[in-house]
C-alpha cells in the first residue's frame, strides 16, 4: 500500500500573521510549522502502514524552506518527502495548487491520497475535491473513522445531519477530520533518522504544469483590497469575582436579547 499524504507549511501559530500589503499575500517569512490538522492525516497513514505495510510519502507545495516542516512529519515515521517548489507557483489559487499537487501525485501513483481537515492559513477546506477531480479519482471527505481493506476504503463521514458511511475503490482520495486520531510525537530515533530520509524537490515543469497555469498568472481569483473587519463592538473580559452572572445578565438585558 502506497499512501501519499498532502501536507502544507503554514506560519507558526505563535507568529502574528499578516498579509503583505504590496503582494496582498500572506507573509510567510516568519517561523513556520506543519499545518496542525495535516498531522492527523500523517498519523492515519502511519497506522495503515503499520497494519498493512507499505510506504508513506509526503507531498507538499511551497517555498524551499518548507523542507524544515516536512522533516517533522518524516520524524513521525513517513518514509520520504516530495516538495514542489517553484517561484512561478507563488500566489497560486485553488486551481494552481490543485494542478501542481495533482501533477506531483500522478508521478507517484499512490493507492491512497490523504489530506488533513483544513489549512491553518487559508482556512480553506476544499482542496481535496479539486485534486480528486483532476486525478479523476473518488473522494471521501470529513472522515472521522477510516477502514482500508483489499482494494477499497470505507470512511465514516461526519455531516450536518449525522454520519454517512461511504465506500470507494482504490485508488482514492480521502480527507480526514481531526477527530480521527491523536497524532503521535516524534521519537528521538525518529528525529535522528528523519535527517537522512529522502527529500525530493520538484519544479512545476517536473510535475507537468506550465508556469502560466499556476501562481499569480494561472489564478482565476484575485484579491482586490484589504480592510479592517467591522468591530464586534466593545469586547469585555472580566475575572469572576462573584458578580459575573449579573454582568452577563446586564449585557443581555441591555441588548434586549431576552
Amino acid at each position: 500500500m502506497k499512501i501519499a499524504v498532502c501536507v502544507k507549511q503554514v506560519p507558526d501559530a505563535t507568529v502574528h500573521k499578516r498579509i503583505d500589503p504590496a503582494t496582498k499575500r500572506l507573509d510567510r517569512s516568519g517561523e513556520a510549522a506543519l499545518n496542525p490538522t495535516d498531522l492527523n492525516a500523517v498519523e492515519e497513514a502511519l497506522r495503515i502502514k503499520e497494519a498493512q505495510g507499505g510506504e508513506v510519502v509526503l507531498m507538499s507545495l511551497g517555498p524551499e524552506k518548507a523542507v524544515d516542516s516536512l522533516r517533522k512529519a518524516l520524524a513521525m515515521g513517513a518514509d520520504r518527502a516530495v516538495l514542489v517548489s517553484d517561484e512561478a507557483a507563488a500566489g497560486s489559487d485553488l486551481l494552481g495548487t490543485a494542478r501542481a499537487l495533482a501533477g506531483a501525485l500522478e508521478r507517484e501513483s499512490a493507492d491512497l491520497v490523504l489530506f488533513g481537515q483544513a489549512s491553518g492559513d487559508g482556512d480553506g477546506a476544499v482542496l481535496w475535491a479539486a485534486v480528486a477531480d483532476r486525478l479523476r479519482r473518488p473522494v471521501v471527505s470529513q472522515v472521522a473513522a477510516l477502514t482500508v481493506e483489499a482494494g477499497s476504503v470505507t470512511g465514516k463521514r461526519q455531516t450536518e445531519h449525522g454520519y454517512d458511511v461511504i465506500s470507494a475503490p482504490l485508488p482514492a482520495v480521502v480527507a480526514v477530520s481531526d477527530a480521527i486520531n491523536e497524532p503521535r510525537y516524534p521519537s528521538l530515533k525518529g528525529i535522528m533518522s528523519a535527517k537522512t530520509k529522502p527529500q525530493e524537490t520538484l519544479s512545476l515543469g517536473d510535475v507537468g504544469v506550465d508556469a502560466g497555469a499556476a501562481g499569480e498568472a494561472g489564478a482565476k481569483t484575485t484579491v482586490l483590497d484589504l480592510g479592517a473587519p467591522p468591530a464586534r463592538g466593545d469586547q469585555v473580559k472580566i475575572e469572576d469575582d462573584g458578580s459575573a452572572a449579573q454582568r452577563i445578565l446586564d449585557l443581555v438585558v441591555e441588548r434586549k436579547l431576552l
Binding site: 500573521k17 485553488l94 475535491a129 479539486a130 454517512d164 473580559k237
Partner: protein
C-alpha cells in the same frame, strides 16, 4: 448578474443555507436555483418564494446519495447549458466538495468562506475574513464562471413571494464520479428544541468536566427559552447527542445570543457559531481562543456562574 444557486434539500425541505444565498443573489440580479437528487422536482418550486426565477432539477439515480462528485457532473453540464456567470453555494460539508470539484472541472475561480457579496461596476465582489477574522479581504474573479462558497449562516432566507418555473435537465456522469457509494446513513435526531432555529443557545464543551455538567446548561437554556448546543469534543466523548453539535462538522448556527460554557473556541467550533449576534464566553482558562471573538468573556468557574445566572434569569419572572 445572472447567478445559479446550489440548493440542498433534506427530508423534503430546502435547506436554509442555500435559500439564504438565493435571497442574496436575487437582490443582486437574476437568480436561478438548482436542486439535485431524489424528490428534486417536488421541492424545487419552493425556491420561487425566495427569489429564484427558475429552478433546474435533475433526479438521476446517481444523485440519490449525498455525494459530491455526481453533483459536479450535473452542475458542469448546467453551467455549460445556461451560461451562468456565477455559481453560488452556501457552505456545508457536501457543498464545499461540490464547489471545489466544480472549480477544477470548469477551470473556474472559487472564492470561499465569504461573508458578503456585492456588485462593483457590475462585477461580483466577495468579502472574506482572513487571519482569524482580523483582516477583511475584498476578493474578485478574473473571469467566469465565478464560483463562490458563502460562510454558513451568513444570509437569512428572505421570502419575496415570487414563483419559479421548474425545468428539468439531464446529465451524463464521469466514470470516476460514481465510484464512491453510500453504504449506510445514520441520522441523529434531537429530542430538545432544535439549535438551528433557536434565538438563544447555551453550549457546553470539555470544560463542563463530565456529562452531568450539561444539566446546569439545560436549566439555563430552559430559563432563557433557548436550546442546548455542544462541541464536537464532548459529542465524540458521548456526553451529548450529535444533533446538538455546533461546528464545522455539525450545525452552523447564528442565534441572537450564544453562551459558550467551558468551550475553548477551536477553529472547528468557531466556524459553526461565529455568526452569532452576541457571544458570551465562560472559561477558566484566560488564554482560551474564544476570548478573542466574544462580546463578554468571563474567566471563572462555570459551575458557579451558570447556576447563578439561571437564578437571576428566573427571578426576573
Amino acid at each position: 448578474m445572472k447567478s445559479l444557486v446550489f440548493l440542498e434539500h433534506y427530508h423534503g425541505a430546502l435547506e436554509k443555507g442555500g435559500l439564504g444565498v438565493l435571497s442574496k443573489a436575487a437582490s443582486l440580479g437574476e437568480a436561478t436555483g438548482v436542486v439535485l437528487g431524489e424528490d428534486a422536482a417536488s421541492v424545487a418550486a419552493g425556491a420561487g418564494a425566495f427569489g429564484a426565477s427558475k429552478v433546474y432539477v435533475c433526479d438521476a439515480p446517481e444523485l440519490a446519495s449525498p455525494l459530491p462528485q455526481p453533483r459536479v457532473d450535473a452542475l458542469a453540464t448546467l453551467v455549460e447549458q445556461t451560461g451562468a456567470v456565477a455559481v453560488l453555494f452556501g457552505a456545508s460539508v457536501l457543498s464545499a466538495d461540490v464547489a471545489s470539484g466544480l472549480a477544477a472541472r470548469l477551470d473556474a475561480g472559487l472564492n470561499w468562506d465569504l461573508t458578503d457579496l456585492s456588485l462593483a461596476d457590475g462585477e461580483l465582489v466577495g468579502k472574506r475574513p482572513a487571519l482569524g477574522d482580523t483582516v477583511l479581504v475584498d476578493v474578485g474573479w478574473k473571469s467566469g464562471p465565478k464560483l463562490a462558497l458563502i460562510r454558513a449562516g451568513t444570509f437569512d432566507p428572505a421570502e419575496s413571494g415570487g414563483t419559479a418555473e421548474v425545468e428539468s435537465f439531464e446529465t451524463t456522469f464521469s466514470d470516476f464520479s460514481t465510484l464512491a457509494t453510500l453504504v449506510e446513513q445514520t441520522q441523529e435526531e434531537s429530542s430538545g428544541p432544535s439549535i438551528e432555529d433557536a434565538d438563544i443557545i447555551v453550549a457546553g464543551g470539555r470544560g463542563l468536566g463530565a456529562p452531568e455538567g450539561f444539566t446546569i446548561l439545560e436549566e439555563l437554556a430552559a430559563a432563557l427559552g433557548g436550546a442546548v448546543g455542544a462541541t464536537r469534543a464532548v459529542v465524540d466523548a458521548g456526553w451529548y447527542p450529535y444533533s446538538t453539535q455546533v461546528g464545522q462538522t455539525g450545525k452552523s448556527v447564528s442565534p441572537r445570543l450564544y453562551i459558550a460554557c467551558g468551550i475553548s473556541g477551536a477553529i472547528q467550533h468557531k466556524v459553526g457559531m461565529q455568526g452569532s449576534g452576541t457571544i458570551v464566553a465562560i472559561n477558566k482558562d484566560p488564554n482560551a481562543p474564544i476570548f478573542d471573538f466574544c462580546d463578554i468573556g468571563v474567566v471563572g468557574d462555570l459551575h458557579q456562574i451558570v447556576p447563578k445566572l439561571t437564578e437571576l434569569v428566573r427571578s426576573r419572572g
